[in-house]
């Protein structure tokens, strides 16, 4: 037979036998099944940026195809390992190798057959999208979720993302298998490839320190696909193919072609004896000390009486742990964890693009959890799986089975070893944190926070993976199938971690309890919840171990039914007790968490939230009525020990066009009683909304005197990473935590048309009148309010007692005062290690406040007090105090983007607070132009004035990135700035567009127009009408309409004597950018802030340095080419 025919024959035989392995249909079906689950989840699709576009759109095909390569790498490792191990397992390798065929041809044929097999396995991801059509026809998907079959995207995915990496990784796996003559080599190679993937995603891409390099070394190409598709508009997501960028082409060559070289080299040098002889280390003869000791002893061992099986379990556990610890694989994994931790911390914290940041424990710890999460999962699944299979050596399995040790000793020992391994590995990120803080901030070394987080929150989550791995290996007899299944489980956990397939925290496998660490708040508020989560996950682990005990075959079995009688018997013994204990813990903790998170807490399932919001809209929106208030008094009584605030809220001069005063109720807030004109009145509370019956006084000139007795109780735990506003030892409350917000909140209405249709609502939500809506800031519209608060003895800081504006207040209380820093009569209250940052924050606040006041002439609060608020809050001003959350503000060190961004945030907060008060602003279409656009523009102006042109450009570029990403992951279709309420793109877009508008108009003129709009709104005009009145209908429509984009460029022309200016414009429409042709007019700004209008395309005289921006209320897509510098 010719070599060619032999190669072909061997390839075909390899392919056939591979298809017949149990792993193949299992993995294939698993992939398709997983795809079905993904496609059925609207929430999952939303996380992937697929809103109101077909679920079989090309961008989903690309993302899923590249995403699934991640764990295909493990399945492929097993397939390519079989090239070497298949004959060895059957003890046929010597026979096969002695046949008169070329060894190279034999292995080449098998390699090619396995590449075909691996490709067939990989094609399941793109091919699986064919199921979307039948799913739509069966009514499993809404009609608009089913698009035409994406044949081209499927083919591109297969050819570009599956076949190359199957061939390339397969070559590496085969080399590893030839070297180790087992599947261990390929799996180690797979682990190494995943480590490179992690390096690419976490360090290079996540840290934004080398996107091209990140693309180059990413074996799955997922990062590049995600980056490209993130910026696609919805229309592009339905039609566009992945661009073949140079880094992507090089990546495919690197992973698809380059690995063939080492394979070719190995095949050329390979001899038959390399595959026959086992690699053994030279024997090391050394007489054991215990043997020597035995010679001296004349006492024979006593007979076996009453063994101490508990002791044996411990011995078994430590024995397995020693084997793990001594393995070079674990040493490599631990080293990798350490490197990932330190390098990730350095890149994401010290060198953060929005930094530089100080690596404090509270900032570093959650980030470390993110860095090591994926690799941790696979380490646990791999090493615990290996431990479960350790005795499966020829003959030893039977010897172990014939020992009298109860199965519980063997399983318990392994389970204990798994626990110790997990906890031990959890100490590595703790060490990474210590190394990082020691290197970057020696004074800030704190072991307690990372240690508590990783041991109490992270380790229990990983124990769930341990339990699942132990159970899978106990149930599934074939090691390869079991390893693959555990890798699938780990992969699902990774995806859930990234995309929240399961959103109810206690049901999230392998995800730690949601906490938000803060230097001020500490661990105390989180401890009960973290412990409950920890015990729940421990219960899951115990239950899994119990079930494994039930299922693990001690004897040789032919068929799974043979195991049933044994399983039934074990259920009546120790295994049953273990299961019962585990189940009891799980049920008990699940009940507790349900009560704390759902019944008493704020967790609402997505589906329930949609139903609630739909019911709210149907019940209340039409009943809403215009209202106004003249002022009133709020008396708060804070009882931290009971986690309760009681409030007596007297509201004067309540006028309403309807019969009731409406208010939205925050979670845990109830109105216990209400008086109108001194008489008790009816209260209707439905769907977290309350209507207080007013009576005839509502239409009278003086209005009604209303008194509300409010009780706010925080009994539950936060389901998301939200710091509780009250705890036994601290209070961090804002008005909206403890009081109802007067009026209707238009943002409660569902926005996504498909979701609205599911809930039986019309396509567009009914918008309540501005005069019926809640205040844009605070809990009640601008009026004359007085405020008082009673707190226990200790340190209290609260809003001053008179508020002229929207009712917004904040209170902080602790038994002991936090550290304070005073600069020039201004004071900051902060965490113990934030003294230096506090000075910077005070300086920033003062400088930006002065700048905004100078630009606008507004009378701003003095803001001589700044409070470091818990990490997860939003910046706000209550009275004369700036509440600045820790996240993104208090970790910044020194100068750089972080400092510029903090000033921008402070400036935006100051301006927003003033406008909301001055305009007595209610939530209404266009109100966000006043609360986001104008404050953002002013803050950008002030950063430019304070920090210079480069700081301002960096912020503009950052805003542009944010806009593109927000528009790439829309939760609902774009309607316009006015209508899209709290959509993320509005927050990102409004400042940039307003800046362009103001530049075109000239800063002073723009300021005058804004002031005029504010005055008109304060007098009761809507924002939209006021803008029309001030600017005209077309400019107002552009400011409040769909997003506009420009790309202006400047370039040297006329031999260096002129600067050419040109540009393009786009308008958002039908899910994407529509060209609006060339830019017709631009604005040239100089370093000293002078503005000049420029016609485009056109030319400008050469000057020292200037910046050109489109004179259209749009955002600049690419800031880098807008600057001219001599």
């Amino acid at each position: 037979m010719s070599n060619g025919r032999f190669v072909l024959g061997e390839a075909i035989e390899t392919f056939r036998s591979g298809v017949r392995t149990p792993l193949f249909p299992l993995v294939f079906a698993g992939l398709i099944g997983y795809l079905v689950v993904v496609l059925l989840s609207a929430e999952y699709m939303q996380q992937m940026g697929a809103i109101d576009i077909p679920r079989n759109s090309p961008h989903i095909v690309f993302l899923m195809s590249t995403g699934q390569v991640f764990w295909l790498l493990f399945a492929w490792a097993w397939l390519f390992g079989r090239i070497v191990t298949r004959d060895r397992e059957a003890q046929l390798h010597e026979l096969v190798l002695s046949t008169p065929n070329s060894l190279k041809a034999l292995l080449l044929g098998r390699y090619l057959g396995t590449v075909a097999l691996a490709s067939l396995l990989g094609v399941s991801a793109p091919l699986g999208f064919l199921i979307v059509g039948p799913m739509g026809a069966a009514g499993m998907l809404p009609p608009d979720a089913v698009g035409p079959v994406p044949w081209l995207a499927m083919a591109v995915s297969f050819v570009l993302f599956i076949v190359p990496v199957a061939a390339g990784s397969g070559a590496l796996y085969l080399v590893a298998a030839l070297r180790t003559k087992s599947v261990a080599g390929p799996f180690v190679a797979a682990g190494s490839i995943i480590a490179i993937w992690m390096l690419s995603m976490v360090i290079l891409r996540g840290g934004e320190i080398g996107l091209d390099l990140a693309t180059l070394i990413d074996p799955t190409a997922f990062g590049e696909v995600e980056t490209q598709t993130n910026e696609w508009t919805p229309r592009e997501k339905m039609t566009r193919m992945v661009s073949l960028t140079l880094p992507l082409i090089l990546n495919r060559l690197l992973w698809g072609v380059l690995p063939l070289l080492p394979l070719a080299l190995v095949l050329m040098r390979l001899r038959r004896e390399d595959l026959v002889l086992d690699r053994v280390r030279a024997p090391r003869e050394r007489r054991s000390a215990q043997v020597v000791a035995a010679r001296r002893s004349s006492t024979p061992p006593a007979p076996l009486n009453a063994p101490n099986w508990l002791g044996a379990t411990w011995s078994e556990a430590t024995w397995h742990l020693r084997r793990l610890v001594r393995s070079w694989g674990l040493a490599m994994a631990a080293g990798l964890l350490m490197i990932m931790g330190v390098a990730g911390s350095y890149v994401h914290v010290v060198q953060h693009a929005e930094g530089p940041l100080t690596p404090r424990a509270e900032l570093l710890t959650p980030l470390l959890g993110e860095f090591v999460y994926i690799i941790f999962l696979f380490i646990i699944a791999g090493f615990v799986g290996g431990m479960m299979r350790r005795d499966e050596q020829r003959g030893f399995y039977e010897i172990v089975g014939a020992t009298p040790a109860p199965l519980g000793v063997r399983l318990g020992g392994r389970a204990l070893a798994a626990v110790m391994l997990t906890v031990g590995l959890c100490l590595i990120p703790v060490m990474s944190a210590m190394v990082m803080t020691l290197a970057a901030s020696p004074g800030g070394v704190a072991i307690a926070t990372p240690l508590a987080t990783f041991v109490l929150a992270f380790a229990p989550a990983m124990l769930e993976v341990c339990g699942a791995t132990i159970l899978v290996h106990a149930v599934v007899r074939r090691a390869g199938v079991a390893h693959t299944l555990t890798m699938i489980l780990a992969f699902v956990a990774v995806l859930n971690h990234e995309l929240s397939l399961v959103s109810y925290p206690p049901a999230q496998l392998a995800i730690p309890a949601p906490i938000s660490l803060s230097a001020l708040v500490g661990w105390e508020p989180w401890l009960p919840m973290v412990l409950a989560f920890g015990v729940l996950k421990l219960g899951v682990f115990v239950l899994a171990v119990g079930l494994a005990w039930v299922a693990w075959p001690r004897q040789l079995v032919e068929h799974w039914t043979d195991r049933l009688p044994t399983a039934a018997r074990r259920l009546r013994g120790g295994a049953g007790v273990t299961c019962a204990v585990g189940l009891a813990i799980v049920v008990g903790c699940a009940w507790l968490l349900e009560e704390r998170l759902v019944d008493s807490g704020r967790y609402v399932a997505v589906e329930q939230d949609q139903r609630d919001r739909a019911a709210w809209e149907q019940h209340w929106v039409k009943r809403g009525s215009a209202f106004s208030v003249a002022g009133g008094e709020v008396e708060l009584d804070v009882v931290p020990q009971e986690r309760t605030v009681t409030a007596r809220w007297a509201i004067h001069g309540v006028q309403s066009s309807g019969e009731a005063l409406h208010a939205e109720l925050p979670p845990g807030v109830e109105i216990e009683s209400a008086l109108v004109q001194g008489q008790p009145t009816d209260i209707e509370t439905v769907h977290d909304h309350v209507a207080v019956t007013l009576g005839p006084c509502a239409q009278q000139a003086k209005g009604c005197a209303v008194v509300l007795d409010v009780r706010a109780t925080l009994r539950g735990w936060p389901a998301e990473e939200q710091t509780p506003w009250v705890d036994a030892n601290q209070v961090w409350l804002h008005a909206h935590d403890v009081l109802p917000r007067l009026g209707l909140d238009p943002d409660r209405a569902l926005q996504t048309p498909s979701v609205r249709a599911e809930q039986g609502l019309p396509p567009s939500p009914a918008v309540p009148a501005a005069t019926a809506s809640i205040a844009a800031v605070g809990v009640a519209p601008a009026a004359a309010w007085t405020f008082s608060v009673k707190t226990p003895q200790g340190w209290t800081i609260a809003t001053e007692d008179r508020i002229n504006g929207p009712l917004d207040f904040a209170v902080a209380w602790r038994p002991e005062a936090p550290p304070a820093t005073t600069v020039g009569g201004r004071q900051a209250w902060h965490g113990p290690e934030h003294g230096q940052v506090a000075k910077q924050v005070l300086d920033d606040t003062a400088a930006i406040r002065v700048c905004i006041q100078a630009k606008t002439g507004w009378s701003l609060p003095t803001l001589d007090t700044v409070v470091q608020a818990p990490r997860d809050g939003t910046p706000s001003i209550a009275g004369d105090i700036l509440w600045l959350p820790e996240d993104g503000n208090w970790d910044i060190t020194g100068e750089g983007f972080g400092g510029w961004h903090r000033r921008f945030v402070i400036g935006r907060t100051i301006a927003r607070h003033y406008i909301a008060a001055a305009a007595a602003l209610r939530h209404q279409p266009g109100s966000r132009w006043l609360t986001e656009g104008v404050p953002g523009w002013l803050a950008l102006e002030c950063v430019r004035a304070e920090d210079g042109q480069s700081a301002w450009r960096a912020l503009l570029a950052s805003e542009a990135d944010g806009i593109v990403q927000a528009l790439g992951s829309l939760p609902s279709p774009v309607r316009g700035l006015a209508e899209d309420g709290d959509a993320e793109w509005v927050e990102a877009y409004a400042p940039a567009a307003t800046y362009a508008w103001a530049s075109a108009m000239g800063s002073e003129v723009a300021q005058q127009r804004v002031s005029a709009v504010v005055e008109q709104v304060a007098r009761g005009t809507t924002v939209a009408d006021a803008l029309v009145a001030q600017l005209g209908s077309a400019p107002a429509a552009e400011l409040l309409g769909v997003p506009l984009a420009s790309d202006v460029t400047v370039a040297e022309a006329a031999g260096g004597h002129e600067v050419a200016v040109d540009g393009q414009r786009w308008r958002w429409g039908t899910g994407g950018w529509q060209s609006e042709g060339s830019t017709s007019r631009a604005v040239r700004t100089t370093l000293d802030g002078e503005y000049a209008s420029v016609s485009t395309p056109g030319a400008l005289p050469v000057d020292d340095e200037f910046f050109v921006l489109d004179a259209w209320p749009s955002f600049e897509r690419s800031v880098e080419d807008n600057t001219w510098s001599r």
Partner: protein, 299 residues
């Protein structure tokens, strides 16, 4: 020739008593068919061709497999009703043991010692040390098992099986693949053990059983087709076994008991009360003749 009838007359003082053990696999193969055995202390041989049911019987006695019916007792302990008690008195060495990776011999022995119930650390270490000495591996105590030669692995296996001073030692094809020196050494170890334990030796090598065992059984098709002491079994064929060399090219006789290669052709053995022909010569019966005779009778 069978001595089973006379055994049935003996009082039930056997250390290991197997009664009516049957096992049929899902593929329909009847591996054990009402097997009865009575085994006293000493070495007991199990002979039989491939598929005779030896391994099934051994695995069943090692509590690794459940029989469909029947019972077995060791010193009165019911192996099915109370397998853990039996396991405390059991040592099992399967046909093959592999190279356990990454573990030193002493460490692996220690581990199996606590799994056997030797949970006292000092006693465990003492026993491990003595066993290593006994199987002549004391110099390899700190050597990784994966570096052992085939002979060392078998000796290590017997050390594993001897942990806990078993009353019943089951060894399956223990000398397969060993060189003569290792094989002799192994036999000596087994003989020593058999002084105060039941050693159940399963093998294809009839000579081993002939040299080592006090009694033996021949299994075929899942049934015990011959049972007794080697001498007694041999004596039943005394004067009835004849042999001659059949030259190459000459057809073999039909009634051959068994045959083996010979430099001049094939040496055949036949069973006959008188000389089957002039070219036959009498042959002193060996256990191999008994074995083949039993198989022929069973067939």
């Amino acid at each position: 020739m069978n001595t089973r009838d006379e055994d049935k007359e003996r009082p039930s003082d056997a250390a290991l008593e197997v009664t009516g053990l049957s096992k049929t696999y899902r593929n329909g193969i009847r591996a054990l068919d009402r097997v009865d055995l009575r085994v006293e202390s000493g070495m007991y041989g199990l002979l039989g061709p491939n598929g005779a049911g030896k391994s099934t019987l051994m695995r069943t006695l090692a509590t690794l497999q459940q029989p469909d019916s029947g019972t077995f007792r060791l010193d009165g302990i019911d192996g099915l009703a109370d397998p853990d008690s039996l396991r405390r008195r059991l040592g099992y060495l399967p046909q093959q043991i592999g190279a356990y990776p990454g573990v030193r011999a002493a460490a692996l022995l220690e581990r199996f010692a606590w799994l056997k119930g030797r949970t006292d650390k000092a006693a465990r270490r003492l026993e491990v040390a003595r066993l290593l000495e006994r199987v002549n591996l004391e110099d390899a105590a700190e050597q990784e098992v994966s570096t052992f030669s085939g002979g060392m692995l078998r000796r290590f296996g017997i050390a594993l099986a001897l942990l806990g001073q078993p009353r019943l030692l089951i060894v399956d094809e223990p000398t397969a693949g060993l060189d003569p020196a290792e094989r002799n050494r192994f036999h000596r170890v087994l003989s020593e053990i058999a002084a105060d334990a039941v050693v159940l030796l399963s093998t294809h090598i009839v000579e081993d059983v002939e040299n080592l065992c006090d009694r033996l059984s021949v299994l075929s098709g899942g049934r015990v087709v011959a049972e007794g002491a080697p001498e007694a079994l041999r004596s039943a064929l005394e004067g009835r076994v004849w042999t001659r060399v059949v030259p190459r090219g000459e057809s073999l006789p039909d009634d051959v008991l068994h045959m083996r290669a010979d430099p001049k052709g094939t040496r055949v053995f036949v069973l006959s009360d008188g000389s089957p022909g002039s070219d036959y010569e009498p042959h002193a019966p060996r256990l191999e003749d008994v074995y083949h005779h039993a198989l022929a009778e069973a067939a």
